[in-house]
């Protein structure tokens, strides 16, 4: 409350006048023209950015950032689906990469003995060798049986006899093997 009588009314009058004047002044001023006259470069030159940055606590700022939460919100699948892998691969110069790879050095670092142990190369070689040996043995035996048949056939032909009724082998042995394997249809004529 004003100490003078009628002070309140005077005060209200002054305020209303001031508001009116300020309103008129603002309306009269062209803000854009005023801003256009301001030399921003000179203004910025006066600002000490380093001093401002030095006052910012970057670590504190980072600490307050919840990175996990940000990552959770990132849809990686969506990002990956938008990546054109073919285009990236096309831009990769594979030949150049290969040229830069020292193959000799890589080979020197490979433990051949361990590799052989893991791949059981020795077993493979042994199997292959035994397979060849077995094949050769089968061949020799088959040739022998074939020649036996040939000779027996000619002997029977020269002696003008038929071996149809002759036993193929010891009766008990042939019968036992016929049970174990399939029934034999061999006759003496085959021998």
């Amino acid at each position: 409350m004003s100490p003078l009588p009628g002070g309140n009314r005077m005060e209200q009058l002054v305020e209303s006048i001031a508001e009116r004047v300020v309103g008129l002044v603002i309306e009269a001023i062209d803000i854009n023209a005023l801003v256009g006259k301001v030399d921003m470069d000179a203004l910025l030159a006066k600002v000490d950015v380093d001093a401002i940055v030095s006052k910012v606590d970057v670590d504190g700022l980072i600490d307050r950032v919840d990175v996990e939460k940000i990552i959770d919100r990132v849809d990686v699948d969506k990002i990956v689906s938008r990546v054109d892998v073919d285009q990236i691969v096309e831009r990769v110069d594979v030949e150049k990469i290969i040229e830069r790879v020292d193959v000799e050095k890589i080979i020197q670092r490979v433990d051949i003995d361990a590799l052989v142990e893991q791949t059981e190369l020795g077993t493979i070689i042994a199997r292959s060798t035994s397979g060849v040996a077995s094949e050769a043995l089968d061949l020799v035996r088959a040739q022998g049986v074939g020649l036996d048949d040939f000779v027996a056939r000619w002997v029977n032909r020269v002696l003008r006899r038929s071996a149809d009724d002759w036993p193929a082998g010891p009766p008990a042995l042939v019968a036992a093997l016929a049970v174990v394997e399939t029934p034999s249809t061999q006759t003496g004529a085959d021998r």
């Binding site: 089968d138 035996r141 088959a142 022998g144 036993p167 082998g169 010891p170 009766p171």
Partner: protein, 178 residues
């Protein structure tokens, strides 16, 4: 898509237990003679070298009447052991195992040690009269040689030709069902 190769049926499949023919037996015998001769010669060379090493004098066991007699007796003994021991043990010698044949009784059972000894002793008899004793292998229905008849044994194929044929087929086409 090409058609699978046509594989003719093998005439030798399923011969296990059949009487073995003359050619197979002859080749097996030749292999045994080679193996026993080789082993004997190597042993003789080893003994000669050992004696030379110990005594310091060079010797030749084939020279001199006594040495030659010793070598002949040793050779006969070695041949006897070579055949008799292997026949008694498994019914087959090294050569017979290679050719896939074995000695069994006339009934088809494993031969005894006695039969193995008789067969070994009688074997030289088959060589008499220009090998007349072996003629039975070609002429007899049970393919008996003289030493077989004396020992009451026969020689049969022990080689499983059917399994060999399956192995051969498997090698031709590993993915084909047998």
């Amino acid at each position: 898509m090409s058609a699978p190769p046509v594989v003719p049926a093998s005439p030798i499949a399923g011969r296990q237990g059949n009487y073995a023919g003359g050619v197979t037996r002859l080749v097996a015998f030749a292999a045994d003679v080679g193996a026993s001769w080789g082993a004997f010669t190597l042993s003789l060379a080893g003994i000669t070298f050992a004696i030379q090493l110990v005594t310091g004098t060079k010797i030749d066991l084939t020279q001199g009447r006594f040495s030659a007699l010793f070598v002949v007796v040793a050779f006969v003994g070695w041949e006897f052991v070579y055949f008799a021991y292997q026949w008694a043990l498994s019914g087959k010698t090294v050569g017979m195992a290679l050719l896939g044949i074995r000695v069994v009784t006339t009934e088809g059972d494993a031969i005894s040690g006695r039969q193995a000894v008789i067969r070994t002793v009688a074997l030289p008899m088959s060589f008499l009269f220009f090998g007349l004793g072996f003629l039975g292998i070609l002429l007899n229905k049970d393919r008996h040689a003289w030493h077989d008849r004396l020992a009451r044994t026969v020689v049969v194929y022990s080689w499983d030709a059917r399994a060999a044929r399956l192995r051969w087929l498997a090698r031709q086409d590993p993915v084909a069902p047998l």
